[in-house]
């Protein structure tokens, strides 16, 4: 049985309600749990540092493959029933949606764990580049040490 996996990298905004509705149409009655994460653009990177715009860039093809590799690792660890990952690229203003992860499973423990796992590795392993464009200038962002520690904590040997 192949698990439905929907991975999209898009400039346009996404609709979490529509993603859930679509997943529910795909899901049979075995699904008891859907865990979802929505990332929003925060209005500052560090205290006192205003951010006007977040610019996201990707490598079409390779980026989707890098996400698929992360999803495959999640699928091998947890009994998931449906996975959706949507990541936006382009210019995003504060408070805009940037990333969406939705995982369905029979029980909540797997859904929560897989959703968090996917986000942790999207931060460190997915092929995206993020630039903060503020009145003070432009700055390319690197994964934080905290992000790397979170990914490594899964003990997957791939972080």
């Amino acid at each position: 049985m192949s698990v439905p996996v929907d991975i999209r990298v898009e400039t346009r905004d996404f609709d979490p309600g529509a993603e859930l509705a679509a997943a529910r149409r795909r899901l049979g009655g075995a699904a008891g749990a859907v865990a979802t994460f929505i990332g929003l653009v925060r209005d500052r990177a560090a205290p006192g540092q205003p951010v006007a715009t977040l610019h996201l860039e990707h490598y079409p093809g390779m980026t989707e493959n890098s996400i698929r590799a992360i999803v495959d690792r999640a699928l091998s660890r947890w009994p998931l029933l449906d996975v959706v990952v949507v990541h936006r690229v382009g210019d995003l203003a504060p408070s805009e949606q940037i990333v969406f992860v939705q995982v369905a499973s029979a029980h909540r423990a797997a859904a929560f764990a897989a959703c968090e796992f996917l986000m942790d590795f999207l931060k460190t392993d997915a092929v995206f580049w993020k630039r903060e464009d503020s009145p003070d200038g432009r700055r390319w962002i690197e994964s934080t040490g905290d992000d790397c520690r979170r990914a490594e904590a899964w003990g997957d040997g791939n972080a």
């Binding site: 490598y59 093809g61 390779m62 990541h87 940037i98 990333v99 931060k123 995206f128 690197e142």
Partner: protein, 84 residues
Amino acid sequence: MNLRVRFFASLREAVGRPEIDLELPDGAGHGDLLAALEARLGEPAMAALRAGNVRVARNQTLTDQPFAPADGDEIAFLPPVTGG
């Protein structure tokens, strides 16, 4: 052999363009590729491509250097990634 070389994010900005096409003699190796790049891009851009945290993808798969380029390859220089 003909190759396309792509630059992303900060490296695209350092190089000043998103990609270049290179023609190398058949049998050219990794050193020939770098030499051709340096001839086209100049030293400041090459220094950015040589930074320790830059990874190289060959045909959209991360690769170790050195590697032997082949006709039709798409070589990409990738700065450290930050998703989510």
